[in-house]
Each structure stands twice: as C-alpha cells, then as structure tokens.
C-alpha cells in the first residue's frame, strides 16, 4: 500500500511527461489524463480503505530513515482529503475535455500537463510528512496555478496574475524563512520529529513559529487579512481552472494549517485563529455581497468559507477539528461545482455578470437545480452537506462556550444565503436575458453538464454519507489532537 501512496504523487508526474509528449494526439492525451486521474482517485480510495482498516501508512521514500530522508504519511486526515481532492480534479478534467471541444476553453497543450503537475503537488502536499517537501509541494501547486492562470496572456489575466504570483511568492519566501526558523530551533524538518520537539521549545520561539506559520498558511488559505489576492485573481481564469483553484488551492492551505497547528500543539493560538476565523467569514461574505458578477461573488465566498474551517481549528477540540475536516471535505466539491455552473453560464452566455443574464430557471431548469444544490449547501441549509458540517461546527463551538463565534458564524450563513439569493435572482429569475435561446445540451456542452452533474452528485454523496464521513473526520481529529499516533507511526 505504501507504493500506492508514493505512486499517487509520482504517477501524475509521469503522466504529465507523457501528455507533454502526446500533445499532438488529442484523443490519446485525453485518455492518458483520464486514466491517470481515475487511477489516482482509485488509489486514494484504496488508501482510505486501508487507513480505515489498519491505520496510518508511512512511506520512507527511497528507504531512508525519517530523520535523514523524506517520509510520506497517509493518516485518516490525509486519506480523506486526498480522496475528495483527486475526485474533484477528475470531475473538472471531464468538464475541461467537454469545454475543449467547444474551443472556448484554455489551451490544452498547456493545461493538461500542468494540471497533472498540480494534481501531483496536491497529493504531495497532502501526504508529505516533511515540512520542506511541503514547501516544494506548495511550489509545484503554485507554479502550476501561475501558469494556468496566465498562460492565455490576456490583459485581465496578466494583471490579476501579477497580484496572485507576487503575493504567493512573498508567502513562499516566508515559508522558506519559516523552514529556516524551524530548522534552527529543532534541527529537523521531519514533521513527526517537529511534533516532538516544537512543543518543548521555549514559549516565545514556540508561539513565534506558530504565528509565523499561521501567516504562511493563512495567506495560502486566504485568511483575513491575507486574502485580498484571491478575489482579484480567481475570476479571470478560464472556468475549469478557477474551479480547480476554488475547490483545492486554499483548502490545501487550510489542510496544511490544520496539520501543522495540531501537530505542533499550538493550542495557545486558538483565540487568534478564532478571531481570524470570524473576520474571514464576515469580510469574505461582505465582499460577496458587494459584487455583481457571479464568479466574483463565488470567489469571495471561498474566503468566507475558509473562516468556518478556521473556526473548527481555532476551537482545538476534537469536535471542532472534526467539524473543520468535515467542512473541508464538503467544501471542496461544493465550491468546485459552483464554479462549474458559473462556467456553464459563462460559456453559454458569454458573461457571468448578473446584470446581463436572467430568467435561466425557466429556460434551463437543470442548470438551476445544479446551482441550487451546492448554493444551499454553501449556505448550510439541510439536507445538504453544508448543513451537517455547519451543525458540527456550531455544536463544537457551543460546547466550547465560544458564543461570539457562533453568532458570527450564523450571521455569516445568513449573509451567504442572501448573496446566493442575489445570484439566483440575477441569473435564474427575472426577464430572460442573455443567450437568445435554450442551449441544446449536446456534444461538448453535454460533457460539461455531465461533469457538473457528477460533481453535484458528489456533493449529495457527501451529504448522504455524512455519517461515515463524520466518523472518519472524528477519528482524524482524535489522531491529530493526540499527536502520538502520527509520531509513533513515523518514528518506529
């Protein structure tokens, strides 16, 4: 099974090389991509099953001792997020293949190999047990995202791309500096060893490392006040790319934050994280309310929803962290599918501006339904996945007597609903406007709709299987807060 873990990282890279070689042969290339993504998704599922059955999987890459080499660690948290992440990329790729045929999308010669690199980076970031390798994984993800965002070279993309690239480069520099601090203090970059050594550091250094990485991962995760780059850059990219970004990139930041903060036992930072969580929720949703463009509204919601995950982390209780994990798992497909719907609107109407679209519910009820499910889920209404995740978080917060954050979280949900209503009123209701006729769902559009439907089914599956997912989240949270299972699994 350890081979499977390693292959889920290296496999996509090999496939990336292959697709680069096959760039003239489109069908073969698409086959390679789909096979690879199906493969890594299956691998992720296999890993999850194995972890569920017999515990954390540790891979010593190249057979080196954890203190000397790199280890990959697939624990419950990693396995859970890996499954969702890989499946999400798969669905988006199906959408992208459809869009490619319609010739409206991005340049596949660039997108296909780079997306595979991104996949590999995401997998690596999730399973790595090494702080520096996490840095490398982040760079893989980021450089891939830089290229995906800007490769078409349009004015808006270049402008927002600069913001995106420069901010993230600064964050990466801070990451590297953070590695230096950690290495200076502990003499290692292995996360299991860090889990042993950081909590025993001098208070100032320990908390300093915690806050520093809060900034590093917080800016990747678009936490307040480090979020501003996101809403400016995401909407300008082609749909499929934004969908992947929206679903995954910030979530990897959150993932790493949860991983790092729990592993190094940064309980003391809980209040800081909670404050950041509240501000992130409110500022994000305020931004969403202020916008008049579907993709921009959704982009601000990425920020807002990050706050909910941070809430769970900030509580530093099993219930809270489990809630954060479940929220993460729910949020990845929901966010992706919302952007896919945005992409469908855009590719049939040529715009995602609320002022220039209308009445879609009457003419394309399927699309309305495909939007409504994730939108309600986002607002945390039952019976959708967001409700379970939100309930878990509220429950945890009330149990921790953090009343203020509960009020903020509930207010945030209401405002989220309001802004979803705004999209609904603008795009799906009102006098029909925009495209002249009902789009016929055939050919390329059919593939795109199929992919979106799959993704919606995915979000519904998260809702239906909330029970087992919650059990797994809870187990992951117990492991994370206990820290010993991770340490022991790595250093045996």
């Amino acid at each position: 099974m350890s081979t499977v873990v390693a292959l889920s990282v290296v496999g996509p890279l090999l496939a990336a090389a292959l697709t680069l070689a096959l760039r003239a042969r489109h069908r073969l290339r698409d086959a390679v991509v789909l096979t690879t993504l199906v493969g890594v998704t299956a691998a992720a599922v296999a890993i999850l099953i194995e972890v569920e059955r017999s515990g954390t999987i540790v891979v010593r890459v190249g057979g080196w001792d954890p203190e000397l080499g790199i280890v990959l660690v697939a624990d419950m948290f990693a396995a859970l997020v890996l499954v969702v992440a890989m499946a999400t990329i798969l669905v988006v790729e199906i959408f992208a293949i459809g869009q490619r045929r319609s010739a409206a999308g991005a340049d596949p010669d660039v997108v296909v190999p780079v997306l595979l690199v991104l996949t590999s980076g995401v997998a690596l970031a999730i399973v790595t047990g090494d702080l520096f390798t996490l840095f490398v994984a982040f760079e893989m993800i980021l450089v891939a995202s830089y290229v995906l965002l800007t490769h078409q070279g349009r004015q808006g993309q270049i402008r927002s791309g600069m913001t995106y690239v420069v901010i993230n480069l600064l964050a990466s520099t801070f990451f590297l500096l953070g590695v230096a601090f950690v290495y200076a203090a502990t003499g290692t970059v292995n996360m299991a060893l860090l889990a042993e050594r950081i909590p025993e550091l001098d208070t100032g250094t320990r908390i300093g490392i915690g806050t520093w990485f809060l900034v590093v991962f917080g800016s990747k995760a678009a936490m307040f006040p480090l979020f501003s780059w996101l809403p400016d850059s995401y909407p300008t990219a082609p749909t499929t790319i934004t969908a992947v970004f929206a679903g995954l990139l910030t979530k990897i930041g959150v993932y790493s934050l949860i991983r790092f903060q729990t592993l190094t036992d940064m309980v003391d930072l809980g209040p800081v994280v909670l404050a950041g969580a509240g501000a992130t929720m409110l500022v994000g949703v305020a931004g969403a309310l202020a916008q008049d463009d579907m993709k921009r509204i959704l982009s601000f919601h990425i920020v807002s929803q990050i706050g909910y995950m941070l809430l769970g982390l900030g509580l530093f209780s099993v219930a809270g962290v489990a809630g954060a994990i479940l929220f993460l798992v729910h949020q990845i497909p929901v966010k992706t599918v919302l952007f896919l719907v945005g992409g469908l609107v855009e590719s049939t109407h040529g715009t995602s501006s609320l002022d220039r679209i209308g009445g879609l519910a009457m003419r394309w009820p399927l699309l309305a339904a495909l939007f409504a499910v994730p939108a309600l889920s986002l607002a945390g209404l039952p019976p959708f996945s967001g409700f379970v995740a939100k309930l878990a978080l509220i429950d945890a917060a009330i149990a921790s007597k953090s009343t203020a954050i509960v009020i903020v979280a509930l207010a945030g949900s209401l405002l989220t609903l309001l802004s979803m209503t705004k999209i609904w009123l603008g795009v799906f209701w009102g006098e029909p406007a925009g495209a002249p006729a009902v789009p016929s769902v055939r050919g390329s559009l059919g593939t795109m709709v199929l992919a979106t439907t799959l993704a919606v089914a995915g979000t519904l599956a998260v809702a239906v299987f909330s029970g087992p997912l919650w059990d797994m989240s809870e187990r992951a949270a117990v492991e994370l807060l206990d820290r010993q299972p991770y340490i022991e699994a790595v250093i045996r």
């Binding site: 830089y146 990466s172 590695v179 230096a180 200076a184």
Partner: protein, 129 residues
C-alpha cells in the same frame, strides 16, 4: 549563530521587501531575487557554523558544514530561479500589452469602491430596480 549572516539576511530581506512593494514588475523581480538570497542564507545560518565541504572522503562529519541546509538551499535556489524566469515572462507580456511593466489595480475592486463612496448608494433592491 553567525551574526554576520543574520545581519546580511536582515539587509537582504529589507531591501527585497522594499523592492517587492514597487509598482514596476522589474523591480519586483529584483526584490524577489534578493528575498531568495536572504532565505537561502537564513537556511544556511540555521544549520550551524561553517565547516569543510561536505565530501565524505575528504572530511569527517564533525569538521564539515551541515550538508542538509545546503541541499535544501539548492532546491530553494532552483525554485526561486524558475519563478524569477516566470516573472520575467509575465513582465514581458505585460509590456507587450501595455507598453510598460507596471502592476495595475484591479478594475472591479475600484468599481466597488467607487460605488461604496457615492453619496447616494446605487439602488440595490429589486423594488427600486
């Protein structure tokens, strides 16, 4: 810890961040190069004092400088190298589009800000629309 290196790191980071906040992408690129140097030097200084070249057949582990930060630094240098090249390409593209390499403000954000600052806010509700 080597005070000289620490001061150098502080200097490089200061100048680097100063340049990064400029409007011209050329300067930003210069800034990131410096930040990269700073981070690498920080990594080196974090690894302990200087020593012999880490070649196993020439010096003993006690005498040699810590090899791990060097390896990490190499990776960091290469990544920073790649990203610098990418920034160059971005700058060039921006130049081709607009005739300079200045980072521009986001138009939509400015629009929202203008809306917010108007004396009488634009009617938002459905009723008024």
């Amino acid at each position: 810890m080597n005070a000289t290196l620490v001061v150098t790191v502080a200097g490089l980071v200061s100048v680097g961040t100063y340049l990064v906040t400029a409007r011209s992408l050329s300067r930003i690129i210069l800034g990131f190069s410096m930040l990269g140097h700073g981070a690498v030097l920080a990594l080196l200084s974090a690894g302990g004092p200087a020593g012999e070249t880490p070649l196993a057949d020439r010096s003993s582990p006690e005498e040699m400088s810590n090899p791990l930060p060097q390896a990490l630094s190499l990776t960091a240098i290469v990544i920073s190298f790649g990203l610098t090249l990418f920034l160059l390409a971005l700058a060039r593209r921006q130049n081709a589009l607009s005739g300079d390499d200045l980072v521009e403000d986001d138009l939509e954000d400015r629009r929202v800000a203008l809306l917010a600052n108007e004396e009488s806010p634009e009617p938002v509700s459905e009723d008024a629309a």
